[in-house]
Symmetry: C2
Subunit: 140 residues, 2 copies
């Protein structure tokens, strides 16, 4: 089980916007060409990023822009914008309360799952779009 490619696509989108928004109009078609996916997929992800107030989109005339400085956009922001699940793990739902393990498994595991998820989110929070952009520029 993997996360969908929406996360890496969204990151790609934002890097392109950060890189090109001052030079040219960044449309879903342009983005779709760089990412190599269908423009509708870009528009849907762009919609999620817009709902999360990470980008602003000019409807009609076209073009996407960062809604705040790239220093203030983290991988966690991006991840939460495109992956709506609250919990990382799907817990089996009806353990048998007549079994001592079935009765207690949830209270034992719930905080472990939260700890694991927090560790992941902490790393994501440490990585900003601005850092990704700097690294991308270095490698060009």
């Amino acid at each position: 089980m993997q996360f969908s490619s929406r996360f890496t696509i969204a990151t790609h989108i934002l890097l392109c916007i950060a890189m090109f928004q001052d030079e040219r109009k960044v449309t879903s078609n342009f983005l779709a060409g760089s990412i190599n996916v269908n423009p509708v997929i870009v528009r849907n992800i762009l919609g999620s990023l817009s709902s999360a107030k990470i980008v602003e989109i000019r409807s009609g005339v076209g073009g996407a822009f960062l809604a705040r400085p790239s220093e203030e956009i983290t991988l966690l922001d991006i991840f939460k914008a495109v992956e709506k699940e609250e919990s990382l793990f799907h817990f089996h739902e009806n353990p048998n309360p007549e079994c001592p393990i079935g009765r207690t498994i949830h209270s034992v595991m719930d905080d472990k799952i939260e700890t694991i998820q927090s560790a992941m989110e902490g790393e994501m929070r440490d990585i900003t779009l601005s850092r990704l952009l700097d690294e991308a520029k270095e490698k060009m």
Copy 2:
């Protein structure tokens, strides 16, 4: 997108084995009753745990046993036994090499993804079955 319930089911299975293996025969039917899923699902997960040398199964006569002490079984061991994906994220596969971002996105993101995954795995490695068992016993 969530991980399948195989991980929490596998953990449940191992807690039951650790708790009951000295008292009674722990069969897939018994486990299925505690977890409240179909015995075939239990047998499949038990098969993964057996391949990973976490449990031993007596075919024919029946019954599952820990293959090593519960102190030496971590959540990461369990996770890797039941989730076969190498990478946590599905990367979009064909970014356009003619775009400066498309060309560099992989080399910029790959190590970030690895860092994030490592953080998650590190937390999992810190939690042993024996600790879960102790906590479960406390709560009974």
